[in-house]
């Protein structure tokens, strides 16, 4: 399977949300990473057949998805960033409705619904009305509906938003389990969500593709750019506008800093092992432009 995003530009009335975006995706997990307003949701909506791009097209195995229509949507699972339910429906009933929408066979629908409810740990709540669900439970129900049709292409827009740490780990394991033979695209602000499971990280800023690389390579590139040092109050004050500082720990009069910088900072410091979070700051911190 090969999903090609080709020259996608998406304009809202006056705002260009995505601009001339090109990339190619295969089986595996892709993490869309970018600050608020970068265009992740917009791009995902184009991929989910919900927005017609102003320019460009999306190809699945060389076929334009806009001409594939329901054949494309048949293999699609989509969790929107913001979405809703019918409050008076129970979880079970709502999923049965989605199953009908997805064209699942009547005979397998109930089992399939139970299965996905189990996956997201909502089995004992299946007969409760969704109106009474907590935020995290609704989010999990959203994940469940996306999985109902065993999608070959799974698009998850901030799937871990509102999940507690335990559920977050569950989710991560689930994704790495099912991603072998599908394309999984997920967007997030929480770098740790994708650090270990993403095949590639797609960096988006201002609607443009900033870069695509595997987490390992990104970390490799970050080598020698992360420093740990001890600074006095004055030193910290003089540095804080010119350096990207990812962590600050006050230890009495001194301050321990984690600094992202190509060059060694002007205080006593040692190289640190880099993490994906440092990369996020390295690429996306707006205030400090070199």
């Amino acid at each position: 399977m090969r999903l090609i995003i080709e020259n996608i530009t998406m304009k809202y009335k006056d705002k260009v949300a995505v601009e001339d975006f090109n990339t190619e995706l295969n089986e595996g997990v892709y993490g869309f990473l970018g600050p608020n307003g970068a265009g992740k949701t917009t791009l995902m909506r184009v991929l989910a057949d919900l927005l017609r791009p102003t320019r460009g097209r999306v190809l699945l195995d060389d076929r334009d998805i806009s001409t594939m229509g329901d054949k494309y949507r048949n293999i699609l699972g989509y969790l929107p960033q913001s979405f809703g339910f019918y409050k008076s429906f129970t979880a079970h009933k709502f999923l049965m409705y989605i199953a009908a929408l997805k064209g699942l066979d009547k005979s397998i629908s109930p089992d399939k619904v139970e299965e996905v409810l189990d996956i997201v740990n909502l089995k004992e709540h299946s007969k409760r009305k969704i109106g009474k669900f907590s935020g995290g439970m609704k989010q999990r129900l959203g994940i469940a509906q996306a999985l109902l049709n065993d999608p070959k292409i799974l698009i998850l827009d901030e799937p871990t938003a509102g999940l507690d740490p335990k559920e977050r780990i569950r989710f991560r394991n689930l994704i790495s389990e099912i991603s072998k033979d599908r394309i999984v695209i997920l967007s997030t602000h929480i770098v740790s969500d994708i650090e270990y499971i993403a095949k590639e990280v797609i960096l988006i800023k201002d609607g443009k593709l900033l870069g695509v690389d595997s987490p390992e390579n990104i970390l490799e590139n970050m080598k020698g750019k992360v420093w740990k040092g001890i600074a006095s109050e004055e030193e910290f004050n003089s540095m804080k506008d010119d350096y990207k500082i990812s962590n600050i720990v006050r230890k009495g009069k001194e301050i321990e800093l984690r600094i992202i910088s190509k060059d060694k900072p002007p205080i006593e410091s040692i190289e640190e092992e880099s993490r994906l979070e440092d990369m996020y700051l390295y690429y996306f911190d707006q205030e400090v432009e070199e």
Partner: protein, 394 residues
């Protein structure tokens, strides 16, 4: 498909607003029915005297009525105290009898009018025959002639029994059905937008085809259920309060339709009312669905629906004299073929009226049904187009 349709039906019926509306309509209906029943009973007339004259119109009855009328007038004049004013004083009994005699006279008058109309038509058919420049007038005359000839002679029957049955749709029923359709269908599509389920639907396999078909079918079934329920309830209430007397008689025996050229019975006409009303209300419902498919909030289709349905009321202003000539006839036609006008049914059947379609006279009822079907289909096409292309931007 069937599964989706069941869900859509469930969504339509499980709305609180609909339940409230239904209760309100039922209460109002009950109230109006009882009120009408009371006034029917209050209207005292001499049932026994009427029985003597009821039935077919015969020469004897006409004579009896003429003589009776003279007697009553004479008595009235005798009782008049001449104090400068002319003031006829009737006693109640005379008043009742006068009503009965008048009905005989009216029926006879109608029969004569019809006969002379038939004669007139025959003449003009003869004149128009073969003339190539006025095919429409010729065909129209022939059509009317054929229809009038088939009509049986009207008789003398008590009309009060049918007021309730036939008066419902044209009185308040056409509003009730529209309200229920508005309550049921206004948010068929807007609900998806406002709950943000739209993105789950539109990204699913059946979300751009089958779901639309299901929603449309569910709406049709909903309208059908509403119409059928109303029809049956009203019929049963009517049987219970007024019985079944005279329902097999032709509608020309009912004062509202004395000029109607249609050869159908009272009960058949009730069925026709229900059917035509259903078609009009359904077409209106599809229009509401179309508006719903492009509205973010349910308020828009609901209030636009109310406005659109009552449009003829709003544009029916005092016509200035210089406009009367062209405005009034246009308005008349517009009202006859507009959703609410057709749902009222009456204007289509009360007289011989045709539209000129390429030289062929098309009777109003057929034209109206055709127009409703065409508008309904246009709405459906629009719904498919707009929901499929709905862009998720919020």
């Amino acid at each position: 498909m069937i599964r989706l349709m069941k869900f859509e039906l469930y969504k339509i019926f499980s709305k609180k607003a609909l339940i409230i509306g239904l209760v309100a309509v039922i209460l109002l209906y009950g109230f109006l029915s009882l009120k009408q029943y009371k006034s029917f009973n209050d209207y005292s007339y001499n049932r026994n005297e009427f029985k003597k004259i009821e039935g077919e119109l015969t020469k004897e009855k006409i004579k009896l009525a003429e003589e009776g009328m003279k007697e009553i007038q004479k008595r009235a004049i005798e009782h008049t105290e001449s104090d400068g004013y002319t003031w006829y004083e009737y006693n109640q009994e005379d008043l009742d009898m006068e009503g009965i005699y008048e009905q005989v006279a009216r029926t006879e008058g109608f029969q004569q009018r019809k006969e002379s109309r038939i004669k007139e038509l025959k003449e003009s058919i003869g004149k128009l025959e073969g003339k190539s420049n006025n095919k429409y007038e010729y065909r129209k005359a022939k059509l009317e002639y054929n229809m009038l000839q088939k009509l049986p002679k009207p008789g003398i029957y008590s009309n009060g029994l049918w007021d309730n049955l036939l008066g419902y749709i044209e009185g308040i029923g056409f509003i009730f059905s529209a309200i229920l359709v508005l309550l049921g269908l206004s948010n068929v599509f807007t609900e998806e937008y406002s709950t943000k389920v739209d993105r789950l639907i539109l990204s699913s396999k059946n979300g751009k085809n089958a779901i639309i078909t299901s929603k449309i079918f569910a709406s049709i079934i909903y309208t059908l259920i509403i119409s059928a329920t109303i029809a049956i309830i009203h019929l049963l209430v009517n049987f219970a309060l007024y019985g079944t007397e005279g329902l097999h008689l032709n509608i020309q025996n009912y004062w509202s339709y004395i000029d109607s050229p249609y050869n159908i019975s009272i009960i058949e006409f009730y069925g026709t009312q229900i059917l035509v009303n259903f078609i009009a209300v359904l077409s209106f419902g599809l229009l509401i669905l179309a508006i719903s498919s492009i509205s973010k909030s349910v308020i828009i289709p609901f209030f636009m629906g109310v406005m659109l349905y009552l449009l003829p009321v709003f544009i029916d202003f005092e016509t200035p004299d210089e406009m009367v000539y062209w405005y009034t006839p246009i308005m008349k036609i517009f009202k006859s073929f507009y959703y609410s006008g057709i749902a009222q049914v009456r204007n289509l059947f009360d007289q011989f009226k045709t539209l000129n379609i390429f030289g062929y006279p098309i009777l109003y009822p057929y034209a109206a049904v055709a127009i409703m079907i065409i508008l309904g289909i246009l709405s459906i096409v629009f719904i498919y187009f707009s929901f499929r292309r709905h862009q998720v931007k919020s």
